[in-house]
């Protein structure tokens, strides 16, 4: 079976959709040299009309994509740095995502915003390491955060085919993850469908993005102590609340392992909804980033602010030891 990396899965999914549907095109900075490698080989395959190099003009080209989408195209806009999604946050949330509503359903804006290197970059400073997927969920924008190559292929395919704006977060820490795949098995994955990566009976760990792999490692480490179910929502908006409820019904206990900041992050939303609607036998816990920026250019300072395996293991043990409410 061939090995497929996450990055190659993005390349393959985008290439397959551009081959299948001529309305799909990709635009971004440094596209002519495929700087992120997502579009490696595309300029030769598809030509400059469908692989569009743009200047440093994020608000300009995000609005440009909205226009092209209103005119019947399916743009995929690539961003190199997570904070750029904050620079264009208004254009995505207040314009692209509202034009269908404001037009009374006349026309939607099928743009995919592809962020193929989201999250912490060791030593890259305070402005390159954000992970703002919770903000888009807060604003009701369809948002996906796949953890594995297969899920990356499936959810990028779905994002491109979806008639609404979709933000795709590919965690930097996942890009080198490789997986044995049969190419024939690759295909679209519905939005809002979670996935049990590892079945368990004692506690549900909801892990998001690259933290899925960390959670699986912790589940291995603690296998003698606890049967941990690792559950991955895969898309943060819409969210598979039914799938989560089923997992929690099996385990009764919940820990969320989330690369968002603590306040108003997905971790907060998952705990709140679980507390309201699900049968938890003990108070849940979360492991997140603290609020605010990652410190800066010193990896030793950065790393203590990242959600870690040790923090997750401690949270799991605390939830398992809890006598209940």
């Amino acid at each position: 079976m061939p090995k497929l990396s996450y990055l190659k899965a993005l390349n393959r999914a985008l290439g397959d959709e551009m081959t299948r549907d001529e309305s799909v095109f990709v635009l971004g900075e440094d596209m002519n040299f495929a700087l992120t490698n997502v579009t490696a080989g595309f300029l030769d395959r598809f030509g400059p009309d469908r692989v569009v190099e743009v200047p440093l003009t994020e608000q300009g080209f995000t609005n440009f994509a909205t226009g092209a989408a209103l005119a019947g195209r399916r743009p995929v806009v690539e961003f190199q740095i997570p904070f750029l999604l904050l620079l264009v946050f208004e254009q995505i949330t207040n314009q692209a995502n509202k034009f269908l509503l404001m037009s009374g359903g006349q026309r939607s804006v099928p743009v995919t915003y592809l962020m193929p290197a989201a999250g912490w970059r060791p030593g890259w400073g305070a402005q390159h390491s954000d992970q703002p997927y919770s903000l888009f969920a807060h604003m009701g924008v369809k948002t996906v955060l796949p953890a594995t190559p297969t899920d990356a292929y499936g959810l990028l395919t779905t994002a491109i085919r979806d008639d609404d704006p979709v933000v795709f977060f590919g965690p930097l820490a996942s890009l080198t993850v490789r997986e044995d795949v049969d190419y024939a098995d690759l295909g679209p994955i519905p939005l809002g469908s979670g996935r049990v990566h590892r079945a368990g009976t004692d506690v549900t760990v909801v892990a998001l993005g690259h933290l899925v792999h960390e959670a699986l490692a912790v589940a291995d480490e603690l296998a003698a102590e606890a049967s941990i179910e690792v559950w991955d929502p895969r898309s943060v908006y819409p969210f598979d609340w039914t799938g989560l409820a089923e997992s929690v019904a099996r385990t009764g206990r919940l820990v969320v392992f989330d690369d968002s900041n603590r306040s108003c992050g997905m971790g907060a939303e998952i705990l709140a909804t679980a507390a309201e609607e699900m049968r938890l036998t003990a108070p849940p816990r979360r492991v997140t980033r603290p609020d605010g920026a990652i410190v800066g250019a010193v990896p030793e300072l950065d790393v203590v602010l990242q959600p870690t395996r040790a923090q997750l293991a401690e949270a799991v043990r605390a939830v398992l030891k809890s006598p209940g409410w």
């Binding site: 009309d49 743009v54 200047p55 003009t57 608000q59 300009g60 080209f61 995000t62 609005n63 440009f64 994509a65 909205t66 226009g67 092209a68 989408a69 209103l70 005119a71 019947g72 195209r73 743009p75 208004e90 254009q91 207040n94 314009q95 034009f99 269908l100 509503l101 404001m102 037009s103 009374g104 359903g105 006349q106 026309r107 939607s108 099928p110 009701g140 369809k142 979806d162 008639d163 609404d164 819409p238 609340w241 309201e276 609607e277």
Partner: protein
Amino acid sequence: MTAPDSVALYRMIRFIRRFEERSVDLVKSGEIVSGVHPCIGQEAVSAGACATLEPDDIVLSSHRGHGHLLAKGCDPARVMAEMAGRVTGIDKGRGGSFHPSDFSANVYNATGTVGHGSGIAAGIAWAAVKAGKSTVVMSFFGDGAVTQGALLEGFNLAGLWNLPVVYICENNGYATTLPVQTAVSGTITGRGEAFGIPSSTVDGQDAETVFAAVSEAVERARSGGGPSLLEMRTYRYHGHHTFELKTRLKYREQAEIDEWRLRDPLDIQAARVAADVRARIDDEVERELDEVVRFAVESPRPDPADATDHMYADGFRPRAGVSL
């Protein structure tokens, strides 16, 4: 260039003027809850500019956009119904006076984020060119937009890729309360020239002058000559928004308004049309607007149960704000 149809321009200016006055009445009577941004005083820009367009050409409007919609060919009754939040409106009441679109008339939107239409226009125009169409995109904005960076980013892309966009800045002298001379460094046309975009200043009170200038820009766009920027010197006789009927903000002198009244676009165009023709048109306009208003106020309001309709193309609805 075809000659302007003086009678048709008069009729459109008269129609927009009276439509706007009727809409202000509906604001006062409570039928239009949002209030409106009347374009009274600026009608020659809408009428003259849109008269140069083909039905397939595309317009991006602004918050002061009723004139653009009417001149581009939207059904006036459905525009008024939209402003009154009725289900018969062009956007089923979801766009309102501020954010209307009508794809049947190729009015694509009026984004509320001032200045951001320029990039959207570039994207629409690019898609049209790549599809082998000769469509022209006309993007309207006010003088308040020229201090927004996003406007210039759109100019850059349109200029760089030689896209068929006609940018029309309606410089009415004020960004809400801020006089243009206290907001804008340099000139408005200088912003287009900086990107290699042919730019000129036009008397926006004279519909036939507007028509001539815009015709040239539209022809250039359609023949592959790229974008243009036209700064229309115009004026709004009413406030920024009908809330000024209550707040009475004193950011301009009555003498200034009176001076601009001497160059009322309706009077300028009326002088080109015979009195008996005008009288007939004025009468037709009133009778048509009676029907427009009747249609709007008699149309049903949306059912609150439908509040989350049209949010997502696949019918997905957000979870309710209250706990289950």
